[in-house]
Symmetry: C3
Amino acid sequence: MIVQDRAARSSAPAMADENTPLVRDAWYVACFSPDLVAGEPLARKIAGERVMLYRRADGTPVALKDRCAHRSYPLSKGQIDGDDVICGYHGLRYGPDGICTVVPSQETPPRNLGVAAFAVVEEAPLIWVWAGDRERARREPLPSLPWMRATSGWDLVTGYLFLKSSYIHMHENLLDLTHIGFLHGKSFGSAAYASAPFETIVEASAIVVKRTVEPTMLPPLYAEPLGMVDVPASRAVTSTFHSPGLSISGVRLSRLSEPLERRRYHHAETAHLLTPIDANSMHYHFLMGRDFAVGDAATGEFLATSLRNVFLEDQAALEAITDVRSDDPDAAPDRSVASDKAGIAMRRLMLRLAAAEGAPT
Amino acid sequence: MIVQDRAARSSAPAMADENTPLVRDAWYVACFSPDLVAGEPLARKIAGERVMLYRRADGTPVALKDRCAHRSYPLSKGQIDGDDVICGYHGLRYGPDGICTVVPSQETPPRNLGVAAFAVVEEAPLIWVWAGDRERARREPLPSLPWMRATSGWDLVTGYLFLKSSYIHMHENLLDLTHIGFLHGKSFGSAAYASAPFETIVEASAIVVKRTVEPTMLPPLYAEPLGMVDVPASRAVTSTFHSPGLSISGVRLSRLSEPLERRRYHHAETAHLLTPIDANSMHYHFLMGRDFAVGDAATGEFLATSLRNVFLEDQAALEAITDVRSDDPDAAPDRSVASDKAGIAMRRLMLRLAAAEGAPT
Amino acid sequence: MIVQDRAARSSAPAMADENTPLVRDAWYVACFSPDLVAGEPLARKIAGERVMLYRRADGTPVALKDRCAHRSYPLSKGQIDGDDVICGYHGLRYGPDGICTVVPSQETPPRNLGVAAFAVVEEAPLIWVWAGDRERARREPLPSLPWMRATSGWDLVTGYLFLKSSYIHMHENLLDLTHIGFLHGKSFGSAAYASAPFETIVEASAIVVKRTVEPTMLPPLYAEPLGMVDVPASRAVTSTFHSPGLSISGVRLSRLSEPLERRRYHHAETAHLLTPIDANSMHYHFLMGRDFAVGDAATGEFLATSLRNVFLEDQAALEAITDVRSDDPDAAPDRSVASDKAGIAMRRLMLRLAAAEGAPT
């Protein structure tokens, strides 16, 4: 009989889980560009921080702490006026730097009255916020890749899910391809996935898993747009952990019947934009780019729907895990298998990143 | 950039907030007189205490702890019999003093078996309960004012809201007139309100703010019953914190075109009857008296509806603040501005009252 | 005036309540036999443990911890294959002993990878699980009685309720017959119940209360099937606490007009199968056997409905008590009366059983 070892839990955890403090010093996607409409404040909780976003008169985004310094009313319930936001409770006016410039009931506002302003960058179709130390944000480049940009020439589709899951477990899910044959057995994967050979590359900050499944039949999501239904194919997959806010799944698809010297390769890249809300919930923005069927709206719609359906399976699994783990936080720690190498590396890295920040001050 | 100072929070708070123990030694409105029907027990949580109320045979109210001493069943689910209440679980009978007089399964009840009885006074249309030390209640007069009584000759309208808010923040809201031009900008106020001169009077126990807005246009709530739509008017407002359970807003309205020597003044007084339930929720009974349109039922209905609509705006704001504050109890303390003088005085007084009581024993 | 003594609470409790750790070393009913369908895993939380049940190929039940050892996915969301369960996330296969035999992404599973297997026994129509130490289960006989078995020859009706109540308070409710005249005054009891003489027998593990109410009128639940409406009757009741998972109410009914030497006696036994979920919730399976109207389906339906209606009254009372107690866990302890003798004996026994187990390890 297996006797589970609760005592093991009492020692320091070897890798991050939902109990690890959220990494705040990171770029996280707050919303898609069209979500932030001129004149309309938007509230988003990011890594434990209540943030409100709005657009300046020139359209550039602003991100402020969503709590008036005076009596804690959410600024996101206020009004945008030019470059400023006016609190809806007592009319205090804040500029994009978070400094209060007007208190209507007196001639000049008290000194140093203001709210935190967060670093925020728009690179359409994404708006990124740095939830932590603003100085560090200056030194840290955006984790975006060329194809993710609206100007890339690739065709992009997007989607959003609210997940009651730690971003840690979602990151691990994304680096793990062995679940595709089971959790996504009917939608996206095949049993061949679990046993295909794979390579794990752990770099200073990025963690990469590569796997080629060949020969294989492509799932409808790829086979239909490419006209490769029931055709022996090669499916080369690269999963990359880029940063706490970004994981990318890339796939290179080809027809095995085409000779290697003139084989055509089709690419799709999916950015998984993970934004922790708190220990057990997250925003999940996703963005898929492709270099095939570009400009074909029907394919775009089909992919957006298919992708969402696959991710709903991840959501159900991750939320079930949240329930189980929340129910018994003192349970024995996760046991790992060989294919968890990338996930473990990511979870160790996340633990180090969280530890380096220390507790929020 | 503004850096908020979480450390500041670690020192003792200078004024009460939702984390301050509830003041129990105070008169709080439990319900309106018609809410307590003969023969029907009523459950109300007041300042953390589960209370059950009922009427004796002669109609006078009784307030007992709503928890049978035997097996914790709520007495409010029992039956009223004469002056007594009979527990619905095992039939224990309690008198108005809370002493158990009958245990059906034995000849005489155990000694000293009983539940706490609270001081309770009806002064129609209000029933007041003292949630704390019963001895102190004897020395403390009811906070009611002549016009609040059913016998006043004024016309009264009433209403009730359940608010997910600390009573502290509601009290401060009521003493603060600068929010009227913003939160109630479309329903009740004007921007002129925020900048009108005001006077703050801090007495031993009462705290008063006076403000005259003149000239002004009255909001429909007053203008319509008085036939003063679009007429230059004077609006003299007095906000008074009377006690933890009572704040009063009085207004004196007049037509500026009438010469001072024969000017008619119209008065409305609104009693805000705040009864804390727990840290972040409260009963909000309100009662408006007026000396104009007396006996005119249509005006009464119009005022009750209008008033409720204004208070729903307060409710939305205060509940948003509860959410924000609950989410980050270690946030930097509130920053105050000049017009908060009365609110701060009230919050300091509430802190002293709570401290004087000590922890519940 | 009664002043309740909160300080009394600080000393060690003399008897179990909802704060006492759940007794895990006990047989608890997990479900009725028909609830566990071949090929379909069933999730049940028992005494704080997430358990999943399924049937082997030969139909015998298996009970495993409902949490994959790898990444905490509930095994109850997996697939049954022969005698095994396959995790729905990454395809790990577990046998009925909880040992993992297949990890699809590698040739052999890691050593000692597995989940806890619980002792489980089916004695139709009941499936029992031992939530604690499996070794102890071997020495402990099932608490079932002959008439409870599908093979007893008696006619059985069953029912289920989810109760937001501690099983302790439900056990006490079942041993206490004085509440029947009040809580069930209109459905099942009469005031005579509270004052009828009773006998309490406290044995090493069982606790028995006996009471004969005579003469009495039977409630419709008994009177209608027996054709004894408005007929003077004898109702002899025995309530027995058998174990943390089982309490039994037996009744012997007879017509007083029949002379003693040839009086016919009719029996009904009700097994109250209490399965704690956590401190304040429980599964409540019930099973009533009778030796009258055997084979009469209409009587069976009538009894099942009537019984459920009586137990819904217990549910409402117990859930109200849960609310009251949860709201003020530091309140004065329960005060007892003479008729609580059996309940107190049971609560002391439960405290000893919980203490003997110590904290979960």
